[in-house]
Amino acid sequence: MAKITFITTDNESITLEGTSGSVMQLAVDNDIPGIDGDCGGVCSCATCHVHVKPEDMEKTGAASEIENDMLELDDNVNEYSRLCCQLEISDALDGVVLQVAERD
């Protein structure tokens, strides 16, 4: 079980509980604005872009090569960027705070 907090682009904070699946699925199932997950979670659409709160980077780990490549030319990319379809929910993610990234 992990509690995950999303901060929307309107600065609303929404905390959800998940046990399995990806963070993207959790967000889509709960209508978090700005997370669309159009490709179903295979790193093809970049519609699940979040910025991890810096102190939580240890829990999520850094972006993989394909995530970095997909986001390379995104105006809103930064060192805390992740595609949250690549974050698998587990106890290890408990307490993380994710800021939904603005879209180009």
Binding site: V28, N30, C39, G40, V42, E72, L73
Partner: protein
Amino acid sequence: MSQNFSENKICVVIGASHGGVNFAFSLRKEGWEGRIILFDKDPVLPYHRPPLSKAYLTSADAIEKNALKSAESYEKSNIELRLGHNVSSVNKSEKNITLDTGEIQAYDTLVLATGARPIIPSIEGLKEASNVFALRTASDVEQIRSAVNTGETQKNVVVIGGGYIGLETAASLKKLGANVTVLEREERILARVTAPEMSDFFEKLHATNNVPVLTNKNVVAITKDGNLNHVVCADNTSYKADIIIVGVGIHVNLELAKQAELEIENGIKVDEQAKAATDIYAIGDCTYHYNPHYDRFIRLESVQNAVDQAKIAAAAICDKKPVYNTIPWFWSDQYDVKLQMVGLSTGYNKLVKRIEEGAANKFSIWYFKDDELLAVDAVNNAKAYVLGTKFIKNKNTIDQLKLADPNSVFKPANLILE
């Protein structure tokens, strides 16, 4: 626009897949306060289709894991989801639709998101053959999985048609342990959609994975010997098949559009706001629409198009006057290869191939018409895909020599000619 422009209105959507579902949620977001009723004949909670031939086929997952939205999401957004209901007719003058059961539902705005269905070719003996499947729905996957997993023996599978769906299915069934052969009628696979280099690459990729992809194989008949099929080709060769997968393309679902007397040309013809007629919109695979960037009418079979048109139609209905202007994109996953495509390559007269060093199977094919970049196929190379997308959108002129040189920095500043 009055404040409650839609308060007592009813929007009926036929087809609850990538197009219809995204449309319904977008319409709510745009401020529609009336009813939204989504009909689909498929009884399953709407799901992502792309994984059906990819990860979902090889997994043991239940289809709910692939749901587009959770059941609660529809409730929360007050979207009425009527699954397992086939819409049999549309009455445009009365503004209503009729279900198979005879139930009539009135509408103020109608959205056709009826998509497409697989073509089942008229091959002699195909109807009588055992274990013949197309791949479009969750139920197709259930049946294929169970046919492959029945009994102890390794199954022989013949895939008719070397398009993306056929090739992905072949790769997935190989992973499930079947003995798979792909038969393609043309002289190369993916002939309509990619350059010969790409066809070649995928033929070799399958061969390396012990899946023969055979071209110039026009299937003319299926004969049976007990439960075993023999797939017979025009050149008199024949292939044993416990299971036959038909992947030869799709027919657009146009019956309702025809009844509504909508303009039809290779699909339902819509304008830049996805409008087909007064109070009737059409989105997704079933549409023939104008693409401003390429300045022509096209029909696409892609999630991107279904989702983007859904958003456009929703905004248009809420009087926001959007214009559909996107660059098409698509992906395909086979074995450990990820293909990402952007743009439309039709009409290209020059190809540039860029091979990244130090990584196997990592390259990109760039389609140009003279100096204009039309499209990019990127293999295990998201960077090429992303760069290509940007260049196409911005109509940048690219230094083709540098592009082809793997030692030349793969960054916009280095590649764009001013």
